[in-house]
């Protein structure tokens, strides 16, 4: 297996393990965070805080490199425009997230683990993505 594939596999595995360890795959925990006026569950704040603490420090160090370790070039978004597409897309995503408590990562992990909810959610998510891709064209 080539090293690019291995690195992507390892990164995905770390990501998936992190989602499971922190119970982000349990939509009740996620909805508990989003429900600020109910029995608030702060877990998601610790997950996001821990993750961003790592990326905020380490991304700076990584980006000092000329190129990625395994060659090629850095593909980091250069667009910093806040437009209607961004805000509208984020708002639509947020409504869906608030309805079910699934965002894409936990839904994919949940589907692999055999959660029935995720089996219903993931095909609809793929359809939604296709639809947006068609419209954007």
């Amino acid at each position: 297996m080539n090293r690019v594939i291995l690195a992507a596999l390892a990164s995905g595995a770390l990501f998936g393990a992190g989602l499971a360890v922190s119970s982000m795959t349990d939509r009740a925990v996620v909805l508990g965070f989003l429900d600020v006026f109910g029995a608030w569950n702060p877990t998601l704040a610790f997950v996001m805080g821990g993750a961003v603490a790592v990326t905020a420090i380490a991304f700076r160090l990584v980006m000092k490199r000329q190129a990625p370790m395994l060659g090629g070039e850095f593909r980091v978004p250069k667009n910093d425009a806040i437009d209607g597409r961004l805000v509208g897309g984020a708002a639509i995503f947020g409504i869906g997230w608030g309805l079910a408590g699934f965002c894409p990562g936990p839904a994919l992990v949940g589907a692999a683990a055999g959660l029935v909810d995720a089996w219903v959610f993931v095909p609809a998510m793929i359809a939604g993505s296709f639809l947006a891709g068609r419209l954007a064209r």
Binding site: A8, F15, A20, P42, F93
Partner: protein, 140 residues
């Protein structure tokens, strides 16, 4: 239960995953973009994307079996899950990112655009959960 400790540990693992991907192959660990890119992206980018999603799904599903508080297997209303899935897929594609791409990675890059996306989807999600649970009154 140390929810906060597990949350912090999981968060650090997720952060390390994003750093590993950027450091090794120079790509942003945004799950919605990686997943849709498997179908709609460049052919030359397809293999690493498939590998990432495979690692995510397999390691995540295996780890779930060892987490002390196993996820509750309650099932939600099918129509709600379908609608939610459609909105999440549509919105993340339109807005170029989800909780990982704009959240974990975008905030780590101090991107103004990602901060705007995170504030927007967090507000929309919290408002939606509020309406569903406290105005309509159905347990999500």
């Amino acid at each position: 239960m140390n929810d906060w400790a597990n949350g912090l540990l999981g968060g650090v693992l997720i952060g390390c995953a994003a750093v590993l991907l950027l450091w090794s192959i120079g790509r942003i660990a945004g799950i919605s973009g990686i997943a849709s890119g498997v179908f709609a992206g460049a052919r030359s980018e397809r293999d690493w994307r498939i590998a990432f999603i495979a690692g995510l799904a397999i390691a995540g599903a295996v780890t779930m079996q060892f987490v002390p508080s196993p996820p509750r297997m309650q099932t939600g209303p099918t129509a709600l899950l379908l609608a939610a899935g459609l909105l999440v897929g549509f919105g993340t594609r339109l807005g170029n990112g989800c909780t990982s791409g704009h959240g974990v990675c975008g905030l780590g890059r101090f991107s103004r655009r990602s901060l705007a996306a995170v504030v927007t989807f967090m507000s929309a999600a919290m408002t939606t959960t509020f309406v569903v649970r406290h105005v309509i009154g159905t347990p999500g």
